[in-house]
Subunit: 108 residues, 2 copies
DNA sequence: ACTTACCGTAAGCAATTACTTACCATTTGT
DNA sequence: ACAAATGGTAAGTAATTGCTTACGGTAAGT
């Protein structure tokens, strides 16, 4: 049931940008906010949401806090996606075949 | 760049519910809306968003419209997730090891 | 001890958005 | 041709939420 909060989080473009900045490795809050179109407190709030959703973890380093991606949140998301894959592919293929058949009926 | 709209869509709980109803196979709008806590027009609007995001496709069947999941949207989402996986796992493991080392220093 | 750097939190505001009701278009059946 | 069924669209409203400014708290440096 954790995929729900994760998807809620990643639904916001700014929060997605914050998350994507951590893809290359751990970063402090200031480093994440640098060059962002929003203020540092805004980034802080987004990080809190991401943390509550299990998508990131943080670790204190002196007066700074370093954030990095939590693979467990990522895993929950992937598991949720996989639930759809097989059934969706089967339904889709069936519909494609149906479309081909209906086109054959129309031409001649 | 299509994963962005897909994530925006699935960020809403109701829209997620609509999407999850299609997991077991194609359904008409009325069938999807049946038993939902929102009205049928609301479901229609959500389906339009999902369609624009490439997550569902529809096909007319008489006076009804049957919707089903589009695997291409699902694939874009999975590809985006996979981008994070390797790097995130490496960073996470590195942090776990760092935590173990710092605990060893503290005890003796 | 004092200052500086860094970050989380609170309050308030503006903008987005998700929902409802009403209406219209299209297709099927009689 | 008419009636019923199905669903997309428009307008309006209420609620959510993302952002900013201001403040407080902790850790490092002098």
């Amino acid at each position: 049931m954790s995929y729900a909060r994760a998807l809620d989080c990643l639904g916001d473009p700014t929060r997605r940008k914050v998350f994507e900045r951590l893809r290359s490795g751990p970063l402090s809050v200031g480093e994440i906010a640098r060059g962002m179109p929003v203020s540092r407190p805004a980034v802080s709030q987004h990080l809190a949401s991401l943390k509550e959703a299990g998508l990131v973890v943080d670790r204190p380093v002196g007066t700074r806090r370093v954030y990095y991606i939590d693979p467990r949140g990522l895993g929950a998301l992937r598991a949720w996606l996989d639930q759809f894959w097989d059934q969706a592919l089967a339904s889709f293929q069936q519909e494609v075949e149906r479309r081909i058949r209906s086109e054959k009926e129309q031409k001649p």
